[in-house]
């Protein structure tokens, strides 16, 4: 049984309410930070912990905090990014829905570290019921004196607001989130300037994921060094993984980083293996934006080492044979799944969610989707596979924000690892005309049809 940091108390009845949360040691990190530590000491602890941003990019959180411009004298802000819209990721919702006070406690402690007196939680519009839960939790915390003026007599003021988005994936990008929070259209800004210098209302701003902020109370209650002891190498601590797909026990799991993928997939404590007798075909380790991996690269890396649930091990081998931990949306496919259809589905999502500001993403995502749709529906041409490859390489790296990269990586990985499946779709349109074409006849049985012919 591995150590639980975030989900430790999640099964206590009534933990949603302030009284139960407080009785179980809630808000002690705020007491400790405000009474005994200086803001810089809090930042230092987080730096020592090696906590990395849990939103996907994995940037060290303590370092991000230390970049914030404290010299200019402008008011500073902390914004919590709860716009969790990545297909396959649902960990933040779980955390906010069942233990909302943990996030609020983290927000207070983190805001204290940054010297922010006005902080926001930006939550996606689809999580309206969670928004209400958070609103209620904030009201409870305020009534108990954890928010407002002069918290615990320390002279630290904090106003915390929840802001509801209006249903856009792009508003999870930090600068687009800031734009949206300011009441504008959620278009990503051009960087530099970075939010740490000029963010919300041109003030220095830090944007962190829900999970990152919710980890801060534990680090303060214990210490950064304790946190750094969990995990392997630069991947310290625990991570929430939202597992879905063809597995026995889908759901949100807290794992210690460094757990092997094999154990995570197959042990009964976690996913419990595949949901049926159908074999594993592919998996996506970190939400729809990261490259998909075929069965042979899941448990072992290309050079034969065990693949672990860490930032480094999952990206071992670069994009050729690796993927990314991303936001922890763990999607598993068995051999009834069609990779082309899955890629089309992802491409459709990015087409729908592209903000339309910069050219490659606006035009390219739509183009990708249309071609993938044709291939999936038996109207593909042989040259379409090359065309897809060419389009994705033209989007990647040429856009303002990472949405363009996120749209092109899954397509690139699908072609890289499952090219023969695309060829099968192009060459045998009759066989793939039904949606469930791989259920009766999995690809492994027809693979020889598109294999290299030797005469």
């Amino acid at each position: 049984m591995s150590q639980k940091i975030l989900l430790d108390k999640i099964n206590i009845p009534g933990i949603k309410t302030y009284e139960v949360y407080r009785q179980n040691g809630g808000y002690t990190s705020v007491e400790k930070a405000l009474k005994t530590l200086t803001p810089d000491e809090v930042t230092e602890e987080v730096k020592k912990s090696g906590l990395r941003g849990r939103g996907g990019a994995g940037f060290p959180a303590g370092m991000k905090w230390s970049f914030i411009d404290k010299k200019s004298g402008k008011p500073r802000h902390l914004v919590c990014n709860a716009d969790e819209s990545e297909p396959g990721t649902f960990k933040d919702r779980y955390l906010m829905e069942f233990i909302p006070h943990l996030l609020i406690e983290g927000m207070i402690t983190s805001s204290f570290a940054l010297g922010a007196n006005l902080s926001y939680i930006y939550i996606r519009g689809e999580y309206m019921w969670v928004y209400k839960i958070l609103e209620r939790a904030i009201a409870e915390a305020k009534a108990a004196g954890w928010l407002g003026k002069n918290i615990l007599g320390s002279g630290f003021d904090l106003e915390l607001h929840v802001h509801c988005g209006a249903g856009a994936y792009i508003c999870g990008e930090e600068t687009a989130l800031i734009e949206s929070l300011e009441g504008k259209r959620g278009n990503p800004r051009i960087k530099p300037p970075f939010p740490a210098v000029s963010g919300l209302w041109a003030n220095p701003t830090v944007v962190n994921n829900v999970e990152t902020i919710a980890t801060v109370p534990w680090i303060i209650n214990n210490s950064g060094d304790d946190y750094a002891k969990i995990g392997i190498g630069r991947s310290t601590g625990t991570k929430l993984i939202s597992a879905s797909g063809h597995i026995k026990n889908p759901g949100v799991y807290e794992i210690e980083l460094g757990l092997s993928v094999d154990e995570f997939m197959n042990s009964d404590e976690y996913l419990g293996g595949m949901s049926s007798s159908r074999p594993l075909k592919a998996f996506v380790p970190g939400g729809s934006s990261v490259p998909i991996l075929p069965a042979e690269l899941i448990f072992k890396t290309a050079n034969g080492e065990d693949r672990l649930m860490t930032y480094e091990s999952l990206s071992d081998g670069g994009f050729a044979t690796g993927s990314m931990l991303g936001s922890g949306g763990f999607i598993v496919y068995n051999d009834t799944a069609c990779v082309v259809r899955n890629t089309w589905n992802f491409a459709r999502f990015y087409h729908h969610e592209s903000c339309g500001q910069c050219t490659p993403c606006r035009e390219g995502t739509g183009w990708l989707e249309k071609i993938l749709w044709r291939i999936e529906n038996g109207q593909g041409r042989e040259e379409d596979i090359e065309l897809l490859w060419s389009i994705q390489s033209k989007i990647e790296g040429n856009t303002i924000c990472p949405l363009g990269d996120a749209a092109s990586w899954p397509v690139a990985a699908a072609i890289r690892h499952f090219r023969d499946e695309f060829e099968y779709h192009v060459r045998f349109p009759e066989k793939i005309k039904n949606r469930d074409h791989f259920v009766a006849e999995p690809f492994s049985q027809v693979k020889h049809l598109v294999g290299r012919q030797t005469v």
Binding site: G356, Q357, P360, G364, K370
Partner: protein, 343 residues
């Protein structure tokens, strides 16, 4: 600060962007820019046409930048080395952006009023692929009437958002903006005929493509059949300089625009009264012919160069049988020729 672009060095002030430095040097190395407009704050960074490769970040930090940078929003650093036209990566990126801009563009240049002075035409002339790889149906929009003076052709729009910035920065009340997102993002007022501001006409001048054109000039002439003259008048509109370019056909003023420099940016913005309401020669003091680029399409109508008559060998044969065809396609109720009735 010293910046080197394609091997040519120049000293610039801190805060200058790479694109501005390149324009100071001039010549072939200037990156194309579809969305950047030096006179509009906050423009640039969107179209990605001006991507350049920074091979050396600065004297202090000589590492190259891993990604291509949008030159219009990237500031120069001391000792920076930039590859523009000389880099294959940059050429490739410009080609891709051009391809992306064109896949959903209607390519209706033959009937577009902007043809001949269109930035997208210039861009595709230089970086475009004559053959399209796009076989899908193009994305289209419903026509929308945005006002009495300006024609909106949303299908041609490349969403540079310059017109939005004009409305923000020149007029006191912006009534249009970008609606929807992704490839369905469109410029719209939401309310029919809503644009009614004394400086709204400048949206036409800043539009790099034919998405916003002058309704008073619509289908009157191709721009290369007109002769541009610098002209001015005493304009009573506050904020208007009254200095314009009038585009003449014979003795008739067909169109009035701002004076555009070699990067197709207006020198000063003009009011709608100058642009739309004063088409009489007597309204203007004509200063003289306006200079235009030697290689521009407008120069093709230059009387000083000898033009040879173009003859198409098949022309005669094409006209053969034409009268017969006309009879066939006319409606029987309305006879083409009363002497020759079709039964």
């Amino acid at each position: 600060m010293k910046v080197t672009i394609d091997g040519q060095s120049i000293d610039v002030e801190p805060g200058t962007t790479i694109l501005q430095a390149a324009r100071m040097i001039g010549g072939d190395l200037v990156p194309p820019a579809m969305c950047y407009y030096s006179k509009l704050k906050g423009s640039g960074g969107k179209c990605r046409c001006c991507l350049v490769e920074v091979s050396k970040g600065s004297e202090a930090d000589p590492r190259p930048m891993p990604k291509l940078m949008a030159s219009c929003v990237t500031g120069c650093m001391d000792g920076m080395e930039v590859n523009s036209k000389s880099s294959d990566r940059v050429t490739e990126a410009r080609k891709s952006v051009t391809e992306f801009l064109l896949i959903n563009h209607p390519l209706d240049c033959p009937v577009c009023d902007q043809a001949g002075e269109c930035d997208l035409q210039n861009l595709s002339f230089e970086h475009g692929n004559p053959k399209s790889r796009f076989i899908e149906e193009k994305r289209t929009f419903e026509p929308e009437d945005i006002g009495p003076n300006i024609q909106l052709h949303m299908n041609r729009c490349i969403l540079c958002q310059r017109c939005v910035q004009v409305a923000d920065q020149l007029t006191d009340n912006r009534v249009h903006g970008v609606l929807d997102r992704g490839d369905h993002a469109n410029i719209s007022t939401g309310i029919s005929k809503a644009i009614d501001n004394e400086f709204s006409g400048n949206m036409i001048d800043v539009c790099p493509v034919g998405a916003l054109t002058d309704k008073t000039f619509r289908f009157k002439s191709r721009v290369w059949f007109n002769k541009p003259y610098n002209a001015h008048r005493e304009c009573t509109t506050p904020g208007c300089c009254g200095k314009t370019t009038v585009w003449m056909f014979g003795g008739e003023i067909q169109r009035v625009t701002g004076r555009k420099d070699e990067y197709h940016e207006v020198e000063e913005f003009i009011c709608n009264s100058c642009r739309f309401d004063h088409k009489n020669v007597n309204d203007w003091v004509i200063e003289g012919p306006r200079e235009f680029e030697k290689d521009s399409v407008i120069n093709q109508n230059n009387y000083t160069q000898k033009l040879e008559k173009v003859e198409i060998a098949t022309e005669k044969n094409i006209l053969l049988g034409r009268d017969e065809d006309r009879k066939k396609i006319s409606m029987a109720e309305i006879p083409l020729n009363t002497n020759n009735k079709i039964s």
